[in-house]
Subunit: 456 residues, 2 copies
Amino acid sequence: MSDPIKVFLTEDEMPRQWYNLQADLPHPMPPPVDREGKPVTPDMLAPVFPMNLVEQEMCTDRWVDIPEPVLEKLRLWRPSPLCRARNLEAALDTPAKIYYKNEGVSPAGSHKPNTAVAQVYYNKVAGIKHLTTETGAGQWGSALAMACRLFGLDCRVYMVRISFDQKPFRKMMMQVWGAECIASPSTRTQAGRTILEQMPDTPGSLGIAISEAIEDAVTSKDTRYSLGSVLNHVLLHQTVIGLEAQKQCEKIGVYPDVVIGCAGGGSNFAGLAFPFVCDRIHGKDVRVMAVEPSACPRLTRAPYVYDSGDVAMMTPLLPMNSLGHTFVPPPIHAGGLRYHGMAPLVCHALREGLIEAHAIPQLECYEAAVQWARTEGFIPAPETAHALAAAVREARRAQDEGKERVILLNWSGHGLMDLTGYEAYLSGALTNYELTDEEMARSLKSIEGLPKPPGA
Amino acid sequence: MSDPIKVFLTEDEMPRQWYNLQADLPHPMPPPVDREGKPVTPDMLAPVFPMNLVEQEMCTDRWVDIPEPVLEKLRLWRPSPLCRARNLEAALDTPAKIYYKNEGVSPAGSHKPNTAVAQVYYNKVAGIKHLTTETGAGQWGSALAMACRLFGLDCRVYMVRISFDQKPFRKMMMQVWGAECIASPSTRTQAGRTILEQMPDTPGSLGIAISEAIEDAVTSKDTRYSLGSVLNHVLLHQTVIGLEAQKQCEKIGVYPDVVIGCAGGGSNFAGLAFPFVCDRIHGKDVRVMAVEPSACPRLTRAPYVYDSGDVAMMTPLLPMNSLGHTFVPPPIHAGGLRYHGMAPLVCHALREGLIEAHAIPQLECYEAAVQWARTEGFIPAPETAHALAAAVREARRAQDEGKERVILLNWSGHGLMDLTGYEAYLSGALTNYELTDEEMARSLKSIEGLPKPPGA
């Protein structure tokens, strides 16, 4: 087969192990710590996560076996196709070849189910019957709802109230999958009740929803909490994307010059990128590029610090680039990229010089997304649009330089549940947001007095 | 590879020709006629469709080459995977094997783009610059919008006003793909203006929207009209589904005992089924099953007559099972299955005993759809749910009989744009609709005095 648009793997060719970048890091990552700076121990995490996932979070083995029941569920939509964006290449008149890994083929429409099925499986093995989580726009909540149903666990999703009211379709998806979707703040938790007493009309926030989901998990029988990005084990589960992509590239005899993913919490980027970072560590000439919104410039502008994963500081302190846990993100449509922090492993890889980071403003991302939809057909999620915009920049550079260049990007999800952003863009109502130094300094006040990671 | 969940074809294995059932019919179909009963000639259709598609509509060759530029666009998402619903089989505890052809992988999320790209291509070759069409819920309008953009044609979609207002997301999809989406009735056509003068607050109807789209096409320069189902050439383009499925079945050494598709205008059913009907004509022991809603029982209860394809009688009379062109469908959520008529080729195949027809009520379809989502992950379109409900019936029969049985169904699209129906079902607000004999007799008054097809 010569130069096809799509490359499939058979199910037999699916990876049987996840790849753990920690095994290949030139220097080990600093550990998560408590507010006194003392490393977090497994038993401190046990009320929140099952012990098998806590162990996986701390594991430094290079390869981790994917359990057969997890593989079985992944096979409902995996392996995902590797595709070539020939129509976009032609429209850009570029000598670059643009390949994309289409993670939009999952039932929830994004890469999120890759870790959802793994996390639910490990919880099930540990005897857990119920999982809680939070969700903003609903992409993670719907993925976990589906995974819980597939394994027969109950799922309670605390959804930020304003999204619950304004975006009813993600909530309906969760209900189809049998999950209970609760507007947050709710009266079900102490955290929710306290907030509602103080601010009965609050639209809610991701920070509040996390607090409710964790409180629910630690106070309910046979219940744990599940997180959709940021943590090491979540990134690990996503590496199935990059491992498949490597096999697919090999099948058609190409190897990327540049690998691109958008970075919110970091798992989508890491999922495609880390197996290629491994190649880079072992001598391959490949650039690896994380793309974030200019409105939330963690990797490109924020300091490397110890900070909490949530507003209420219920999580341990993680070594990461952070805008401060009280950061109030601008209302960009890429809801998945509005987090204040970033996966510690991604931040560490950046400090080690293994990856590069770029920030792109909202309008350029939508321009790329619309061009994509009008040439390649598929409508990208606004998060994915950041990877596309970076790919377009690379393709233009290839054209300027008159050089062939193989670009590989993570097409992390479709935008069929996110069309209001497109409507705003097409009607001219969208604007760019650039975080000012003053705004950043203000939100960074929340980390004053916290311990500092070594070398920061 | 032994018994995988998914079977892929390479792009090289994609069919290069469409299959035309007309070549294998034991008796030829009656022709479309005018109101005097005279067969319609190509020149009568020329103002509405380009001549190459008119010729294809009347063609009786067994195999029709798929033009290379059409193949190239189809490859953006085809070949689609053939999948086995193992989790559902386990949940039903059935000895049946349930395979499904996943047409939800297209950019528009359904099978509709298969004919959209072909129709746009033929129009482009014929020098047409603009296409018009109508759409109800928006599935066809969005598919044509995408196809027009891929080939560089303009697209104007007349969308029933109540859907335009209540279902803004399909409209946004069309706009992302650069189409103009117009609420119908509109002031752009004489038909629309007349209706608006008489009924300024009308919610619109598919009949009015068809009238507007055809009027726009025949009165505008370099403009033609495009239809998403019913006609022979539309069914022809969809046979790529069944031809791929045959190759995929062959790859894993299975052959279906029963082939199932839901039937609205008939193209989704025919697309999967007709290549298997061909096998049946040539001696294969395979049952082929069209499934319609009990609320719109064309194949199971309506008479075989000559009737118009639209309320305003702008189309020729087609030989088909019809509830009468003034039929007002009950408000079931499967918007694509609420048509008053049915593809003449499907109706003829039924009369020839080549296929069987079943009607299933709404609640049973949603029950099957929710069970599907909770076992197989993917959320089905409400139309697709009818095929699923029939498959569940067949699987239960296999269990009762203790027999293995291979079931193949057309999973024609996902339901991510149709979640309100699920919400109504899960909240207990949905009901069944059965058409009474009196209601049917009333709507059939509209065909009194029209010519009758031979043998009717």
